[in-house]
């Protein structure tokens, strides 16, 4: 190849204990290109990024940039040779403000080496403006911001280093549609300025849109590199999975749509959403579309009893209910379950084993006089592992050792034995690979087919259109549209998500 490379990886291998993350991986990133890394969860993408950014060290193999071979001992070393990284698992400090996070380690200082808040804020506004992120209050602590915005801040931090190589680890997973567009504009900008970008994503469409070349990882090694657009989606999928994927794009099966099991009447939360009226019917998948931070998170948490409602009614079987805790929602006659937004801090408990995690909602049923019935506990854990297709060998190890997709499958699987007839799923496919996504859809269908009501929020419109029988759209905490199966189109949803009516759109 006569093109000069920006990054070259040769025969890199990496093991975590008994788990092999990368075996003999080789590939090249050409100077100035946007190079996509595709692959299932556990294919080794994150490990590769961690090696390239100096977070972990490879067991064997070579890795060089244009400047020569490197052996990083810390992320500092990677930065020193001009590699900037935006991690999927954000590295922001939640208690610090936006400004403090942006300027962390590079605080503008006066003569006394004190970083005044004012100077911090000014420098941050400048930085944000440079990357087209105006209108963000930099004095706010990061932890209160929607995940998408946090991701943007993480991205700006990486963009701002004006590095030679920019590593983006699944940056779009947490971003809404508008934010993705923003990111793509910035990627194009840095590319024009000569930066090489490595871009990890699960969304084929995005890869087609901005990447020059694509490398597919499978089982810790490269399954091939090709020029974007050269291979069709089916071939790429096959490369990723190593098998043919019989894909039924229209996945809507569900059961016979029955009666309303859960009805909301002008439900208003203590924050986030107002006057939400809707009903969920058994056997039906109800989709919810909204841009980031329009009250959907509060709505889900309130339905699950994790937040209090301010006013309005939740009606189950013609009776008003008030959930004082998630336990109450789980134990209500309906049996509500929640797959929360953030699997690592809400969905699973990283320090517990897989078996402990999946039996946790059921420890009441699985114990007698306070003592665990160990055989039943064991059997149930195995059953759940089997039904969500996670390898049995992981049953006793900490879930922190599992890939994100497998963690998510456990976060869903733990509800399978709770006699739940109403599932709240908050973006369950965020950051999971195509194969896992299929499995999750299958699980959802199975639940609906058995008569459960599903309430499904997703940041991915294609996904919503594919599985929902009805779609509600939220804007600024209110339901602004309800679309039946015949009415739902991408355009209609988008228009409603942006808070506009179609007539407005036509007028403008």
């Amino acid at each position: 190849m006569d093109n000069q490379f920006a990054l070259k990886v040769e025969n890199v291998s990496k093991q975590y204990g008994s788990t092999t993350a990368l075996t003999d991986l080789s590939f090249e990133v050409v100077l100035g290109e946007v190079h996509a890394l595709l692959g299932e969860n556990g294919a080794g993408k994150s490990t590769l990024i961690k090696i390239l950014s100096g977070v972990v060290q490879p067991d064997s193999g070579e890795f060089s940039t244009a400047a020569g071979p490197h052996r990083f001992r810390s992320p500092r070393d990677a930065r020193a040779v001009g590699i900037a990284t935006a991690f999927q698992e954000l590295t922001l400090v939640p208690q610090l403000t936006v400004a403090q996070n942006l300027m962390l380690g590079q605080e503008p200082s006066n003569g006394l080496r004190l970083a005044t808040n004012r100077a911090l804020a000014e420098a941050s506004y400048e930085l944000l403006a440079e990357w087209e992120l105006d209108g963000l209050d930099v004095e706010l602590p990061v932890e209160g911001l929607p995940l998408g915005v946090q991701q943007q801040i993480e991205l700006v931090r990486a963009l701002g280093q004006s590095a030679g190589v920019l590593l983006l680890d699944e940056p779009t997973a947490a971003l809404g549609a508008a934010q993705v567009e923003w990111l793509f504009r910035q990627v194009v900008r840095v590319k024009e300025a000569g930066t090489t970008v490595v871009f990890i994503s699960h969304r084929m469409q995005e890869v087609r849109e901005i990447c020059d070349r694509v490398t597919v990882l499978r089982g810790g090694t490269s399954a091939g590199t090709f020029t974007a657009g050269e291979e069709n989606d089916a071939t790429v999928l096959q490369m990723m999975l190593g098998r043919d994927l019989e894909k039924a794009m229209r996945r809507k099966q569900g059961g016979i749509v029955g009666e309303a099991v859960l009805t909301l009447d002008r439900l208003t939360g203590t924050s986030g959403f107002h006057d939400v009226s809707l009903s969920l019917r058994s056997g039906e998948v109800v989709g919810l579309a909204a841009l980031q931070g329009h009250g959907q998170s509060d709505l889900f948490m309130t339905l699950f009893g994790a937040r209090r409602a301010a006013s309005g009614r939740i009606i189950i079987a013609e009776r008003d209910v008030k959930f004082r805790s998630p336990r109450a929602a789980i134990d209500s006659g309906l049996g509500i379950s929640l797959v929360p937004e953030d699997r690592k801090t809400e969905g699973v408990i990283l320090s517990l084993s897989g078996a402990r995690n999946v039996t946790l909602p059921n420890i009441g049923r699985l114990s007698r006089f306070g003592f665990m019935r160990r055989k039943a506990e064991r059997a149930e854990a195995r059953e759940i592992f089997e039904s969500v297709n996670v390898r049995m060998s992981a049953i006793d190890s900490d879930v922190s050792l599992l890939s994100g997709g497998n963690q998510q499958k456990l976060a869903i699987g733990k509800w399978l034995r709770t006699s739940s007839r109403c599932s709240l799923m908050y973006d369950p496919n965020r950051g999971v690979d195509v194969g896992t996504k299929e499995e999750i859809f299958n699980l959802m269908n199975l639940q609906a087919a058995s008569g459960a009501a599903l309430f499904f929020y997703s940041t991915d419109l294609e996904e919503l259109l594919a599985v929902s029988h009805r779609i509600f759209v939220m804007y600024r905490g209110r339901i602004v549209a309800e679309l039946s199966e015949d009415e739902m189109t991408r355009e209609k949803i988008l228009v409603a998500m942006l808070g506009q009516t179609e007539t407005q759109m036509e007028a403008s």
Binding site: P75, R307, I349, L360, S393
Partner: protein
Amino acid sequence: MTQIFVPRPSVPAEDATPKKPAIKVFRQRLSNTGAVGPAVTLTLMAVLYFYMRPSVLSFDGIHTILNAGTALALAAAGAGLVTVVGGFDFSVGAAISVVNVIVATQVGESVGSQLVSVLLALLVGLLIGLVNSILVIRFQIASVVATLAASFFWGGIALLILAQPGGVVPPSFAQWFTGDVGGIVPNAAILLFVVVAAWLVLKRTRLGHAFYAVGGNVEAARLNGINVSGTIIAAYMIAGLLYGLSGLFITALTSSGDPNIGAPLLLPAFAAIAIGGIRFGGGRGELTGAIVGAFILYMISDLLYAFGVNSFYTPIMNGIILVVAVAITAYASDRRWRESSWLGRTVHRIHPTRGKVVQI
């Protein structure tokens, strides 16, 4: 000819669940039990000690060691439980002092009054734990602050009850704890009971599962339907109960009351927790580890004494052992420790958690 080698359908190795050799299962069980490392260490130390001083290897000798270590062991077990659920309990020293002065001023010669004293001691322990947990849950005060305040408060109460060291504890009372009741050593029996009960509760009960879940991640535990408040209250109250028991032991051992007797136990208790492999921050570790850790601390000074080392060196040795023990535990409990220490840990700690989180 019969076909011997039938080609098998290829099954991915990880999907099959191969029968592991017994020794492997045993080793895995060992490594899953956090208290094993400390227990082995303690055994080695004991063997060395008895080798140096064979005379100690007798009923009385072991009895003395147990008597010396039990109060700290129980205190460490209590504070260790609070640590497992993700909190800190600095009230341990003051709680022991209060129990000590109450018993020392109340207890009489009759069995009845002694029984009342025991009950009173345990109730006071429970009460202190309850107040701690209410401060932490209801008022959302960080456990470090809440229990520090409690420590001052109860330390003051102890002084109000008994301003100066004094009070007389009848030998008949001490006998119940540190003596020799019909050939059975009561402290050994009580200690054994606590060890077994702690293990059972943490490993085999619903409450134990909840302790680890809450210690691992409060918000996730709540979203799993765990009664987080109830779990935290239970942890603090059981801890208080153990402080009460610890206070009884120390009272029996010293046969008098001293409003400041508990304070010196605070730091060693936390050292024992760390040596015993309980993770600060919660979610991992076992109370048996803390109990073993307490005896390791005692054994260090005994060993140094046996070697004829000046006792001034004991604190230095304690410091070294503490660091070494914690480093070993951290290394053994997390295989990825080396690789991920820079980012992996940081990420988990600072990953954004939304919603109202009970501060513990």
